[in-house]
Amino acid sequence: MKIQVIVYLPHFISWAVVSGIFITLLNSSGLVNRMIESMGGEPIRFLMDKRYFRSILVLTDGWKEIGWGSIIYIASITGVDPSLYEAETVDGAGKFRQVLHVTLPAIAPTIVMMLILRVSNILNAGFQQIFIMYNPTVYEVADIIGTYVYRVGLGQMKFGFGTAVGLFNSVVAFILVISCNLLSRRLTGRSIW
């Protein structure tokens, strides 16, 4: 279980530090660019390039949260009754059939619960991470509602506008969670409340 501990370590580090690490790795004289250069390539300004910026956001978020995100699924998979797998083996099912017919149905409630909890985060989309890592050259592809509201609402002192967009954001997230829960109750008979 040591790998689990190592992989979820980054979750406990704040985005300020994680961004610092990746900015160090990815800047024009960073380790990644030195590797590219030593293989005879041109250095890439990853954090100032519209083509790469979003991929970097997704990859660093994955790097940070992959272990933490898997904990609940690991716990729920470990909780599956082993006798079900034995029964499936006796019935002549291979590993893939066992995953399909035992594991997935057994952890379906967990998947639904995690989905509903994640939906509320869709519009949030990692404000801290983007706010620390982006710069004016990539505003076009990096701006989310949160960062835009911060720049306009607090940066340009348009508090009314900022509040309105913030409220809009919350209302949309609220509607999303409610409807996701309702949909899940209708379709699968499972819901958080």
Binding site: I3, I6, V7, I21, T24, R34, W63, K95, W193
Partner: protein, 114 residues
């Protein structure tokens, strides 16, 4: 029980993927840690990969001697302790009445109306 060739292949691929995951998690930390212990000249010249060049610990001495750092560290600790205690107290005291069916408007609070 004897392992089939498919199971053998699975455990080999599994081990390789796990090792790659461990490396991809630890190497960035190692790089930054190595940089923090290296001399300024080596950092500027870009000589560091995963092991410090020109060992020194002056950076840490500098950080620990900054009053601002110690102050912000203290604030972090206080906020964590007080914030956690308050959050637990408030959520527990909010959850208790919500668990009682006789609470007026319970369905509205929990969105379980209808």
């Amino acid at each position: 029980m004897k392992k089939t060739s498919g199971e053998k292949a699975f455990s080999v691929i599994n081990t390789v993927v796990m090792i790659l995951m461990i490396l991809s998690t630890l190497l960035p930390f190692l790089h930054v840690a190595a940089k923090s212990f290296s001399s300024k000249a080596a950092v500027v010249a870009g000589k560091i990969t995963f092991w410090p060049v020109g060992l020194q610990a002056g950076t840490y001495r500098y950080v620990l001697s900054q009053a601002e750092f110690l102050n912000s560290f203290g604030v972090s600790v206080i906020i964590t302790i007080v914030g956690t205690a308050l959050a637990i107290f408030i959520t527990v005291t909010a959850a208790y009445p919500l668990s009682k069916p006789r609470l007026l408007g319970r369905k509205v609070f929990l969105l379980t109306g209808g």
